[in-house]
């Protein structure tokens, strides 16, 4: 394993001490097969334990280690250090308030995520509906779903909530109400699921406050997404769905049907 040295320029911010974020430089030896996260962990363990950052799985699936690396949102446990030169600039995710150092505020996303109702909505009248207290009687108590129906939404269910897309999207940066790529993709994921009946409810959210139409198809979200979710596709498909929903609501006004979640 050959070793070389690299300098890391890391954003530091402690709300109790600092007015504004500043940067701090660390020169450390790095292994050639390290990811960016390995270097940050090395600094935390061996050089400066006062750095705060989030990480856990180190296998690109928990979604906690997103940061800006040389200005681009990256999943740091997946990003090879060898792709960078001698100076690597690591900042907290763009477009989010910063709690401390490399840690950004995610509660805003959690609210938007919840707003799109990311769960299977079934018509309430359905007799003997399955619930936690009335589980299926056996493995047969499942919906029939063809591989093709699964394929329709599968891609959009792969989102790990890493927030890289939010850090890249120019509309997220400037339009605080915008639901944003991942939240819309996850809502759309349920709209496309053959088991779901909540289309109307979600379309109301999509068309209302936080409108999906704010997206200007910058496509940056899909460029940076580490899981190939292609949220830009989801957002723009959702616009399409919202327009159809709006058009049908003109022709066939829904007498409160949407409130009961049925169709």
């Amino acid at each position: 394993m050959s070793e070389s040295k690299k300098t890391f320029v890391i954003t530091r911010f402690d709300p109790d001490k600092d007015e504004v974020p500043k940067t701090q430089e660390y020169e450390i030896p790095v292994h050639e097969d390290w990811k960016v996260l390995d270097a940050i962990n090395f600094i935390k363990d061996e050089v400066d334990p006062t750095i705060s950052h989030r990480w856990s799985c180190r296998m690109a699936v928990c979604g906690s280690c997103g940061m800006m690396v040389n200005g681009e949102p990256k999943l740091t446990c997946k990003t090879r250090l060898s792709d960078y030169g001698d100076r690597v600039i690591v900042e907290p995710l763009a477009n989010f308030p910063v709690i401390r150092d490399l840690v950004s505020e995610l509660d805003g996303f959690m609210e938007k995520f919840q707003a799109v109702k990311p769960w299977v909505i079934r018509a309430k009248e359905e007799a003997g509906a399955v619930s936690a207290s009335n589980p299926p009687k056996s493995s047969k108590g499942t919906f029939v779903q063809s591989a093709a129906e699964l394929a329709e939404f599968k891609q959009f269910s792969l989102c790990i909530n890493c927030m890289l897309c939010y850090a890249a999207c120019p509309v997220v940066a400037n339009e605080p109400e915008f639901l944003g790529p991942a939240a819309i993709a996850l809502g759309h994921r349920y709209n496309l699921d053959s088991r779901d009946q909540g289309l109307d409810e979600r379309n109301e959210v999509f068309r209302g406050e936080g409108t999906v139409f704010s997206c200007s198809f910058a496509n940056e979200c899909s460029e940076v997404c580490p899981k190939n979710v292609d949220p830009a596709a989801a957002v723009n498909q959702a616009k399409f769905g919202a327009v159809i929903d709006w058009a049908t609501s003109l022709v066939l006004p829904r007498p409160g049907a949407s409130k009961e979640g049925g169709k």
């Binding site: 068309r207 409108t211 200007s216 327009v243």
Partner: protein, 119 residues
């Protein structure tokens, strides 16, 4: 205002989308011939003589095509400019910018329909 903008969003988006799709397709030929070919003398100006042009434009298909040619790009333009404004820290001024842009597009669209109607 914001609420109103949210309500009309689907219509705007439809017009904008068609501006991108149909507008782009129609504009390509239009600009090539009317904007560049004829003025530069690459195409015989006789093709756009008043009589021929009027005959082409005043039948029903001609009217529809010309109306689309005028109206759709306006909405593509207005909507994209609104986005551009938002992209430059424009969320607050949007309640002013959007009505102005959509206002221009609306007035020009009405004039466009009128222009086609009186052919």
């Amino acid at each position: 205002m914001r609420h109103f903008l949210l309500r009309i969003e689907p219509v705007i988006w439809l017009l904008f989308g068609q501006g991108l799709l149909i507008g782009t397709m129609l504009l390509t030929g239009w600009v090539l011939v009317v904007g560049i070919g004829v003025p530069l003398g690459l195409i015989d100006p006789a093709a756009l003589s008043f009589d021929r042009a009027h005959a082409l434009g005043s039948n029903i298909i001609g009217r529809l095509v010309l109306a689309a040619l005028i109206v759709l790009p306006l909405w593509k333009g207005a909507h994209h400019l609104r986005h551009l404004s938002i992209d430059f820290r424009g969320a607050e001024r949007d309640v002013v910018v959007a009505p102005i842009l959509y206002g221009i597009a609306t007035v020009a669209s009405l004039l466009g329909v009128l222009a086609v109607a009186r052919l």
